[in-house]
């Protein structure tokens, strides 16, 4: 690994994030290091593609841990909308409060009913935790929301990695809706609402944000969106790389066994392409080596062996076998 990152300078020289409390090890490649460095240099989102189990979502966790930044993550569904990422208004609660309290008696401020989304938390965590209320109002109404992710504070800075996972699961319009918040680093509040006297939330001057978006390629993304993202494709690791990853996860593991499982995985990937099945990913490989190490199971081709059952359950996943 000859490339030495400029902005992603916290990356260890051996490109390996070692296992720490709450974070699994991650083996970076030079391509990943370059892509993250480019993202930090250009302030663009990083769009990560690759086969399921190739480590796309884990990359955000690993980058956040290396940088010592907070991690905010949300997995998209067909119901996901821009508002669920920026800000929503709890209208029903507001109405019920209005009816229950009666006219003019102890009405709560409007911002009390704002539910901040992850983009708000990434841009302005200090206002998000009080729903945009002033500090005195937040104290009076006892508003103090917990951080909705893994919080890491280095000094006074609250930099964050924002993971928008599996964006292809969302409705096709969502990527286009995300363009403005990600591009201009701001979004408008719902009509009539204000935070600190302003009608929009903007990214803090002293906060760095790294946005990582993942896609499984299930649905094609709009060209306008793609042209605004830095692209990174995570290839399936070769057997040598798999062994390296495996030994980082299980430092005391049996290298021969890990090597055999890596070779099997490689074989299945080749066959999977021919059989038009989903190839097993790195995540499945890690499951297999963890299972074999903990259960002390040798890799054996004997029919009916325990390994064969594990192989079928974790790597092949053929329910008809």
């Amino acid at each position: 690994m000859s490339y030495r990152p400029t902005f992603f300078e916290s990356l260890p020289k051996d490109y390996v994030l070692k296992k720490t409390a709450g974070v699994d090890p991650y083996v970076f490649s030079e391509d990943i290091a370059i892509a993250v460095d480019v993202v930090l240099a250009t302030n663009r989102p990083l769009l990560v593609s690759g086969n399921p189990g190739s480590g796309k979502s884990r990359l955000a966790d690993a980058v956040a841990a290396v940088q010592g930044w907070s991690l905010l993550a949300k997995t998209m569904t067909s119901r996901a909308r821009l508002e669920s990422l920026t800000v929503e208004v709890d209208q029903l609660r507001r109405l019920n409060d209005a009816q229950a309290r009666g006219k003019g008696s102890g009405m709560r401020p409007d911002a009390y009913y704002l539910n901040p989304g992850l983009v708000w938390w990434a841009f302005q965590p200090e206002t998000a935790c009080r729903r945009g209320l002033s500090e005195s109002d937040a104290n009076n109404h006892r508003v103090s929301l917990p951080y909705p992710g893994t919080e890491r504070i280095s000094g006074s800075a609250r930099h964050a990695v924002l993971l928008i996972d599996e964006i292809d699961k969302a409705e096709p319009d969502l990527p286009n809706d995300l363009l403005e918040p990600l591009d201009r680093r701001r979004f408008d509040l719902p009509e009539g609402f204000r935070v600190d006297g302003r009608s929009r939330i903007t990214g803090g001057e002293n906060i760095s944000l790294l946005t990582i978006i993942t896609t499984n390629g299930e649905r094609e993304l709009p060209q306008a969106f793609l042209r605004r993202c830095v692209m990174l494709e995570l290839p399936d690791p070769e057997p040598d790389q798999l062994v390296r990853i495996g030994l980082k996860h299980i430092p005391n593991g049996d290298p021969d066994r890990i090597r055999k499982i890596a070779d099997r995985l490689h074989t299945f990937r080749t066959k999977a392409d021919d059989l038009r099945r989903r190839p097993p990913g790195t995540a499945e490989f890690l499951d297999a080596i963890h299972a074999c190490e903990k259960l002390k199971i040798p890799v054996s081709d004997a029919p009916g062996s325990v390994w064969k059952k594990i192989e079928n359950a974790i790597l092949v996943k053929d329910t008809k076998a």
Partner: protein, 329 residues
């Protein structure tokens, strides 16, 4: 980190900024930086093999080669061939006899024939570029507009809400404005009749275009010959499954047997039955017709939406006809 200007798409300035700011040491690293920003000089991607024209003689292998095992869940399997007439039960006497030797035919080395051969190189047979009926850059939006259904959205319907408050009605649930969704997927019915032969490639391409937007798992592909009521698909077990409405939009592609003739088409009577079945089931029916409106049949019953299957059709054209989305049920 705030930036009040719209930076737009990634441009050369981003590349220059990245190359100036980062400590790259060799050409490969510079290339990798450029590639992240979309400035890579890639070799041409490996072209996808063209989808072969539907051939009923190849049933049941479909588009597969004999060496390939069957896919777990084929997206599309052509319909069964016509039944082979029964052979006579009795055995007919027959003998194979050698034919008398014949003089070999004189090679025809006419000059005009060789000139003709010279025009065609057996090694270089480039496929003629073909423009699909829905262009790649617009097909995504067209499919979204044609097959979106309405669901209760996230936006609150203030008018209904205020009305309920004014009437002092209880509000057990917030009234919400409808929004379009593709979550229901669709049924895709393709007419592989003889009159559609010029469009078979487009039919095959349509499977991909719809699958890309709706998701392959949400797209059920049926085929039929002239009569949509006889449309079938094949289960992964190879069983024939006739079409029936299942609560999701139906997109059919057909020419109603127009075959380029002028005047209004007189479609098979099955189309009226088919449209009526869709209406009764409460599923929207959109029909793509590769011929212009002047040739479409006047009355199909069941209120299907007919769309000109043509490169000039846009998503906005369809939204004007359909609106935000279809209502199911």
């Amino acid at each position: 980190m705030t930036d009040e200007t719209d930076r737009g798409e990634i441009h050369l300035g981003d590349l220059a900024r990245a190359l100036a700011a980062l400590k790259w040491e060799n050409d490969d690293q510079a290339k990798a930086i450029a590639a992240c920003l979309g400035f890579a000089l890639h070799t041409s991607p490996k072209p996808k093999p063209p989808v072969e024209i539907y051939d009923r003689q190849r049933y049941p292998s479909g588009e597969r080669t004999p060496e390939q095992p069957p896919p777990e869940r084929p997206l599309f399997v052509p319909p069964a061939p016509e039944a082979v007439p029964p052979l006579p039960a009795n055995h007919l006497a027959g003998r194979i006899q050698p034919l008398p030797e014949r003089a070999p035919a004189a090679p025809d080395d006419s000059a005009w024939l060789q000139e003709g051969d010279a025009l065609y190189s057996a090694e270089e047979q480039t496929a003629v570029a073909r423009q699909p009926l829905f262009l790649e850059r617009t097909s995504r939006h067209i499919v979204s507009a044609a097959l979106g259904t309405l669901r209760s959205g996230a936006e609150i319907d203030e008018a209904k809400l205020i009305s309920a408050i004014c009437r002092r009605e209880p509000i057990p649930e917030l009234p919400r404005r409808p929004e379009a969704t593709l979550e229901l997927g669709c049924q895709l019915l393709l007419d592989y009749s003889a009159s559609m032969v010029p469009f078979w490639e487009d039919l095959n391409g349509l499977i991909g275009q719809v699958g890309e937007v709706m998701g392959e798992g949400n797209t059920r592909v049926y085929s039929f010959d002239t009569r949509p009521t006889e449309a079938v698909c094949w289960t992964p077990e190879g069983e024939r499954e006739p079409w029936q409405p299942e609560g999701r939009p139906v997109l059919a592609a057909t020419d109603f047997g127009i075959q380029g003739r002028s005047g209004r088409a007189q479609p098979d009577s099955a189309w009226r039955i088919f449209a009526e079945r869709c209406r009764q089931a409460g599923v929207p029916l959109v029909i793509l017709v590769p011929w212009p409106r002047a040739r479409w049949p006047l009355d199909l019953g069941g209120c299907p939406e007919l769309v000109h299957w043509n490169a000039h059709t846009s998503a906005s054209t369809i939204r004007k006809k359909i609106g935000l989305g279809h209502r199911i049920g």
